[in-house]
Symmetry: C2
Protein backbone atom coordinates (compact mmCIF):
# COMPACT_ATOMS: atom_id res chain seq x y z
CA UNK A 1 0.00 0.00 0.00
CA UNK A 2 1.37 3.42 -1.00
CA UNK A 3 1.83 5.85 1.90
CA UNK A 4 2.93 9.49 1.89
CA UNK A 5 4.39 11.16 4.98
CA UNK A 6 4.58 14.97 4.99
CA UNK A 7 7.07 16.16 7.61
CA UNK A 8 7.11 19.88 8.37
CA UNK A 9 8.57 22.09 11.06
CA UNK A 10 6.25 23.05 13.90
CA UNK A 11 4.83 26.55 13.55
CA UNK A 12 7.05 28.23 16.15
CA UNK A 13 10.31 26.90 14.70
CA UNK A 14 12.43 29.18 12.51
CA UNK A 15 12.79 27.91 8.94
CA UNK A 16 15.83 29.55 7.28
CA UNK A 17 15.49 27.36 4.18
CA UNK A 18 11.92 28.58 3.73
CA UNK A 19 13.05 32.19 4.21
CA UNK A 20 15.74 31.73 1.56
CA UNK A 21 13.25 30.29 -0.93
CA UNK A 22 10.81 33.11 -0.11
CA UNK A 23 13.48 35.73 -0.85
CA UNK A 24 14.35 33.91 -4.06
CA UNK A 25 10.71 33.99 -5.14
CA UNK A 26 10.47 37.70 -4.26
CA UNK A 27 13.50 38.20 -6.52
CA UNK A 28 11.38 36.82 -9.38
CA UNK A 29 8.57 39.24 -8.40
CA UNK A 30 6.31 36.54 -7.01
CA UNK A 31 4.08 37.71 -4.20
CA UNK A 32 4.36 34.94 -1.66
CA UNK A 33 4.37 34.67 2.09
CA UNK A 34 5.02 32.16 4.88
CA UNK A 35 7.09 29.77 2.76
CA UNK A 36 7.97 26.64 4.75
CA UNK A 37 10.08 23.73 3.54
CA UNK A 38 9.55 20.21 4.76
CA UNK A 39 10.21 16.62 3.71
CA UNK A 40 8.07 14.39 1.57
CA UNK A 41 8.53 10.66 2.20
CA UNK A 42 6.81 8.16 -0.09
CA UNK A 43 6.93 4.41 0.48
CA UNK A 44 5.25 1.08 -0.19
CA UNK A 45 4.04 -0.97 2.78
CA UNK A 46 2.54 -4.44 2.99
CA UNK A 47 -0.70 -3.64 4.82
CA UNK A 48 -4.12 -5.27 4.96
CA UNK A 49 -6.03 -2.02 5.36
CA UNK A 50 -5.59 1.75 5.27
CA UNK A 51 -5.75 1.84 9.08
CA UNK A 52 -2.99 -0.76 9.32
CA UNK A 53 -0.83 1.18 6.84
CA UNK A 54 -1.37 4.39 8.79
CA UNK A 55 -0.46 2.69 12.08
CA UNK A 56 2.75 1.28 10.57
CA UNK A 57 3.70 4.67 9.13
CA UNK A 58 3.00 6.33 12.48
CA UNK A 59 5.34 3.83 14.17
CA UNK A 60 8.04 4.64 11.60
CA UNK A 61 7.59 8.36 12.28
CA UNK A 62 7.95 7.76 16.03
CA UNK A 63 11.05 5.57 15.62
CA UNK A 64 13.00 7.26 12.85
CA UNK A 65 11.37 9.65 10.42
CA UNK A 66 10.29 12.57 12.59
CA UNK A 67 12.01 14.62 15.28
CA UNK A 68 9.03 15.23 17.60
CA UNK A 69 10.75 18.20 19.27
CA UNK A 70 10.76 20.31 16.11
CA UNK A 71 8.65 18.52 13.52
CA UNK A 72 5.14 17.29 12.90
CA UNK A 73 4.00 14.68 10.41
CA UNK A 74 0.87 14.12 8.36
CA UNK A 75 0.32 10.60 7.07
CA UNK A 76 -1.71 10.07 3.91
CA UNK A 77 -2.58 6.57 2.68
CA UNK A 78 -2.82 6.68 -1.12
CA UNK A 79 -4.00 3.06 -1.48
Amino acid sequence: MKVRVLVSLKSGILDPQGKAVEQGLHGFDFQVDHVRIGRLIEMDLPAASAEDAKAQAQAMCDKLLVNPVMEKAVIEVLG
Copy 2:
Protein backbone atom coordinates in the same frame (compact mmCIF):
# COMPACT_ATOMS: atom_id res chain seq x y z
CA MET B 1 -4.54 31.10 -0.46
CA LYS B 2 -2.57 28.19 0.97
CA VAL B 3 -0.69 26.09 -1.59
CA ARG B 4 1.36 22.93 -1.16
CA VAL B 5 3.99 21.84 -3.69
CA LEU B 6 5.25 18.26 -3.50
CA VAL B 7 8.58 17.91 -5.31
CA SER B 8 9.89 14.41 -5.89
CA LEU B 9 12.56 12.80 -8.02
CA LYS B 10 11.44 11.34 -11.34
CA SER B 11 11.03 7.58 -11.23
CA GLY B 12 14.23 6.67 -13.09
CA ILE B 13 16.48 8.83 -10.89
CA LEU B 14 18.51 7.16 -8.13
CA ASP B 15 17.54 8.35 -4.63
CA PRO B 16 20.38 7.58 -2.17
CA GLN B 17 18.63 9.45 0.64
CA GLY B 18 15.56 7.26 0.18
CA LYS B 19 17.75 4.14 0.14
CA ALA B 20 19.41 5.24 3.41
CA VAL B 21 16.04 5.81 5.09
CA GLU B 22 14.81 2.45 3.76
CA GLN B 23 17.81 0.67 5.28
CA GLY B 24 17.25 2.52 8.55
CA LEU B 25 13.63 1.38 8.62
CA HIS B 26 14.70 -2.20 7.85
CA GLY B 27 17.03 -1.91 10.85
CA PHE B 28 13.94 -1.31 12.99
CA ASP B 29 12.29 -4.38 11.41
CA PHE B 30 9.82 -2.38 9.37
CA GLN B 31 8.82 -4.02 6.10
CA VAL B 32 8.97 -1.20 3.64
CA ASP B 33 9.90 -0.78 0.00
CA HIS B 34 10.52 1.92 -2.61
CA VAL B 35 11.20 4.71 -0.12
CA ARG B 36 11.64 8.04 -1.93
CA ILE B 37 12.44 11.36 -0.31
CA GLY B 38 11.26 14.65 -1.76
CA ARG B 39 10.58 18.23 -0.72
CA LEU B 40 7.40 19.68 0.70
CA ILE B 41 6.93 23.40 0.06
CA GLU B 42 4.04 25.21 1.72
CA MET B 43 3.22 28.87 1.06
CA ASP B 44 0.56 31.56 1.13
CA LEU B 45 -0.35 33.29 -2.13
CA PRO B 46 -2.66 36.20 -2.86
CA ALA B 47 -4.95 34.60 -5.45
CA ALA B 48 -8.53 35.17 -6.54
CA SER B 49 -9.25 31.53 -7.31
CA ALA B 50 -7.79 28.06 -6.94
CA GLU B 51 -6.92 28.06 -10.67
CA ASP B 52 -5.05 31.36 -10.27
CA ALA B 53 -3.15 30.01 -7.23
CA LYS B 54 -2.23 26.86 -9.14
CA ALA B 55 -1.02 28.88 -12.13
CA GLN B 56 1.15 31.08 -9.89
CA ALA B 57 2.61 28.04 -8.13
CA GLN B 58 3.33 26.39 -11.48
CA ALA B 59 5.21 29.51 -12.58
CA MET B 60 7.25 29.40 -9.35
CA CYS B 61 8.07 25.73 -9.99
CA ASP B 62 9.21 26.55 -13.54
CA LYS B 63 11.34 29.53 -12.42
CA LEU B 64 12.90 28.34 -9.17
CA LEU B 65 11.42 25.50 -7.17
CA VAL B 66 11.84 22.47 -9.42
CA ASN B 67 14.70 21.10 -11.48
CA PRO B 68 12.76 19.76 -14.48
CA VAL B 69 15.62 17.47 -15.52
CA MET B 70 15.40 15.32 -12.40
CA GLU B 71 12.26 16.34 -10.51
CA LYS B 72 8.51 16.50 -10.89
CA ALA B 73 6.07 18.59 -8.87
CA VAL B 74 2.49 18.15 -7.76
CA ILE B 75 0.64 21.32 -6.79
CA GLU B 76 -2.22 21.13 -4.30
CA VAL B 77 -4.34 24.19 -3.48
CA LEU B 78 -5.53 23.86 0.11
CA GLY B 79 -7.73 26.98 0.00
